[in-house]
């Protein structure tokens, strides 16, 4: 059974003393799972459909990335506040220790939530998260974000010409909708990079030892944005964590290697 896009509903949850109305996409049934999206914003893709087959998936939109509410981002001053906002959101949704899957920027969010508020989550899946820094493995975030758009696929995919990769970056078929789509896409990156600029290092490396839930770390070996060297940096700091490396796979792993990515995640969540 697959969840169709029509089955995804939008819940608006007031948090942060009413100053934020977070949009959360919800689908599926089963134990709760929160998905934290990457830098570019939330796209309901086949990975989320798969997750929704066995979980009730809650996918919040980062403040400011919901269309029509760009300045919501101003209500969140720091990355620390963002973590508190999500703590409140999980409470407001009535979720009791949900699992969390975080990708890239969202991986940093999920990892720091687990480190900062140890009893909030039950399980943690980190898909090529940012959050650490090594001088010998620089993360070319500013180059990607401020560089020519035609370079973007090279940072994200091992196979930029694949149908899945092209689908992920596709613009609307209707030319009249393209400017709005580009504008929203750029603004989404502005909202997330507020807490990742120019280097996404909020001291997570000094807190990761506090993560006390079963943790899976998944990385593409050909990741051109966040080098695979960071897999062990996360793995070695989180006791008992498991690291899965995927061959022939870049940063957006669900596009490059959907089957292997899903196998790693589902094995872990089912175990």
């Amino acid at each position: 059974m697959t969840t169709s896009a029509a089955a995804v509903r939008d819940e608006v949850v007031p948090v942060w003393d009413g100053r934020l109305r977070l949009h959360v996409k919800v689908a599926g049934s089963g134990p709760p799972l929160v998905f934290f999206h990457p830098l570019s914003g939330l796209t309901w893709d086949p990975l989320l459909d798969r997750l929704a087959e066995q979980h009730t998936v809650y996918a919040p939109e980062h403040p400011g990335t919901s269309p029509g509410e760009p300045r919501a981002i101003d209500e969140v001053a720091t990355f620390g506040e963002l973590l508190l906002v999500y703590d409140e959101l999980i409470g407001a949704l009535g979720l009791d220790r949900p699992a969390a899957v975080g990708q890239s920027f969202g991986g940093m969010v999920a990892a720091d939530l687990a480190a900062t508020i140890p009893r909030l989550l039950s399980r943690l899946v980190l898909l090529a998260p940012v959050g650490l820094w090594r001088d010998d493995a620089p993360i070319p975030l500013t180059e990607m974000v401020a560089g020519p758009p035609e370079n973007m696929p090279g940072y994200l995919f091992a196979h930029p010409d694949s149908a899945a990769a092209e689908a992920m970056l596709a613009l609307p078929a209707d030319p009249a909708l393209i400017p709005a789509a580009i504008a929203q896409g750029a603004w989404n990156i502005g909202c997330t990079t507020k807490f990742a600029w120019p280097i996404a290092d909020h001291g997570l490396g000094r807190r990761l030892h506090r993560v006390a839930v079963p943790t899976l770390i998944v990385w593409g070996r050909e990741d051109a944005l966040v080098p695979v060297a960071y897999a062990d940096e996360f793995g070695s700091r989180i006791a008992g964590s498991k690291v899965e490396l995927i061959d022939d796979c870049g940063h957006a792993m669900q596009a490059d290697q959907p089957a292997r990515t899903w196998a790693a995640i589902s094995d872990f969540l089912d175990s």
Partner: protein, 422 residues
């Protein structure tokens, strides 16, 4: 009207084809330069500003850009300080416009309050204080501040600086970005309550409204000349002024124009053509469009409008391959004999109601002798035609420096010079 000389500090010896291989901002490789030629470029810029001050310009103007090959002016108050001191010593009564320190880029806004105040004191009240947001590449890549906070920072910093200049007592500042226990800036500007404030902007309605509401001057740094968007920007500006109850005083606005004058149109093309082409191609044309709007710098509605209109990024892309003909026909640069140049300038000055004109007379590889010829011809043949344009309307230029306040006794006049008085 007031006519000022505007200068950037380009490295004048970039290799041919620079723009095909490099960006002129952020990543321009410093290995291309020869240190002696950096000195030559820098000192020539200073000497030309002084030549302009001596030749009769009303003011000199400088801007800030870090990590740039087309404007080696990471802190324009340094160049302005040299000109302020030298013009003071020579008794030249020229305004010093810094257009300016970027308030959305700085991590140390009180340093700007102090530097501007020092310039105003040193020059004897001749400072024009420019408060630009800062270009996206400069604020968000060079200074690496999150793009989405650029304008918030700008607003906080401007408020802090104005308060630091005017507060009678030391005060605490608990801002979002800056926190201080006791703000008590020494020195403060000699112009009271503070120097004229000029705000560079691209002409978006929100910026224009802010400028008009605060009674600041609007600076349009028109890299694309008057023809392409000038009409739209200034129609919008004056309509907003009407709706906010502001008068149509032309001194509310300042406009920058690139100009090259020779004896005849033909000689102008011959002498300036290749330098102008090289400037647009290797300077503004070699800033990648994406660096001008790092995601978060412009709100979604602004990006949409930019994409639908072709926008500044499109303009920069065209400059990368611009020919002399393109530049002249679009009036990106106004080039020719004194009569040609004066006619074209006078037309847009009257149409847009520009009271403060800034002209940029040096570009890219243009050498000092040619620039000084441009300065001499412009000041002797063109400027006299422009200066009286608004005289008949009788407006007061409230956005021009006021000099030393009357009660202050000048005790520091160098031997043989007169103090700057207005």
């Amino acid at each position: 009207m007031k006519v000022s000389l505007f200068a950037q500090v380009p490295y004048r010896y970039l290799p041919d084809g620079f723009e095909e291989r490099y960006s002129s901002a952020v990543t321009a490789p410093y290995g291309l330069v020869e240190p002696g030629r950096v000195h030559d470029s820098m000192f020539s810029a200073y000497a030309e500003l002084m030549a302009g001050a001596r030749a009769g310009f009303d003011g000199i103007c400088v801007t800030e850009h870090s990590q740039s090959s087309y404007d080696m002016a990471p802190n324009p108050t340094l160049m302005a300080a040299a000109v302020a001191a030298a013009t003071r010593a020579e008794g030249l009564d020229v305004a010093i416009a810094v257009l300016g320190r970027s308030l959305g880029k700085t991590r140390e806004p009180l340093k700007i309050a102090e530097e501007y105040a020092l310039l105003d004191v040193m020059s004897g009240g001749r400072l024009i204080a420019g408060f630009p947001v800062g270009l996206s590449y400069d604020a968000n890549l060079n200074a690496a501040l999150p793009a989405i906070e650029t304008r918030e920072r700008y607003r906080e910093h401007r408020e802090l600086i104005l308060r630091a200049w005017t507060a009678p007592e030391p005060f605490p500042w608990n801002g979002k970005f800056e926190k201080y226990g006791q703000v008590n800036v020494w020195p403060r500007p000699v112009q009271q309550p503070y120097p004229p404030i000029w705000i560079p902007g691209t002409g978006t309605p929100s910026t224009l409204r802010d400028i008009l509401a605060n009674d600041f001057a609007f600076v349009y740094l028109s890299w694309d000349g008057p023809k392409l968007v000038g009409r739209e920007v200034f129609d919008r500006y004056w309509e907003l002024a009407d709706s906010l109850g502001r008068d149509r005083n032309p001194y509310r606005v300042a406009f920058l124009q690139v100009v090259a004058v020779a004896e005849t149109d033909e000689r102008a093309e011959l002498e300036y053509g290749r330098h102008l082409e090289a400037h647009y191609r290797s300077g503004p044309g070699a800033i990648p469009g994406t660096m001008m709007a790092v995601p978060g710098y412009v709100e979604p509605a602004g990006i949409e409008a930019m994409l639908r209109s072709g926008g500044p990024a499109g303009m920069l892309a065209r400059m990368r391959t611009a020919s002399f003909r393109d530049l002249v026909e679009s009036q990106v640069a106004i080039v020719g004999s004194p009569a040609t140049v004066a006619d074209q300038i006078e037309a847009f000055v009257r149409e847009f109601r520009i009271g403060n004109l800034m002209v940029m007379l040096q570009n890219g590889s243009m050498p000092r002798d040619l620039t000084e010829k441009n300065i001499a011809l412009f000041t002797s043949e063109v400027l006299p035609r422009l200066r009286p344009i608004w005289d008949a309307e009788g407006w007061q230029n409230r956005w021009w420096p006021r000099g030393l306040p009357a009660p202050v006794q000048d005790r520091a006049v160098p031997v043989g010079t007169e103090g700057s008085t207005r």
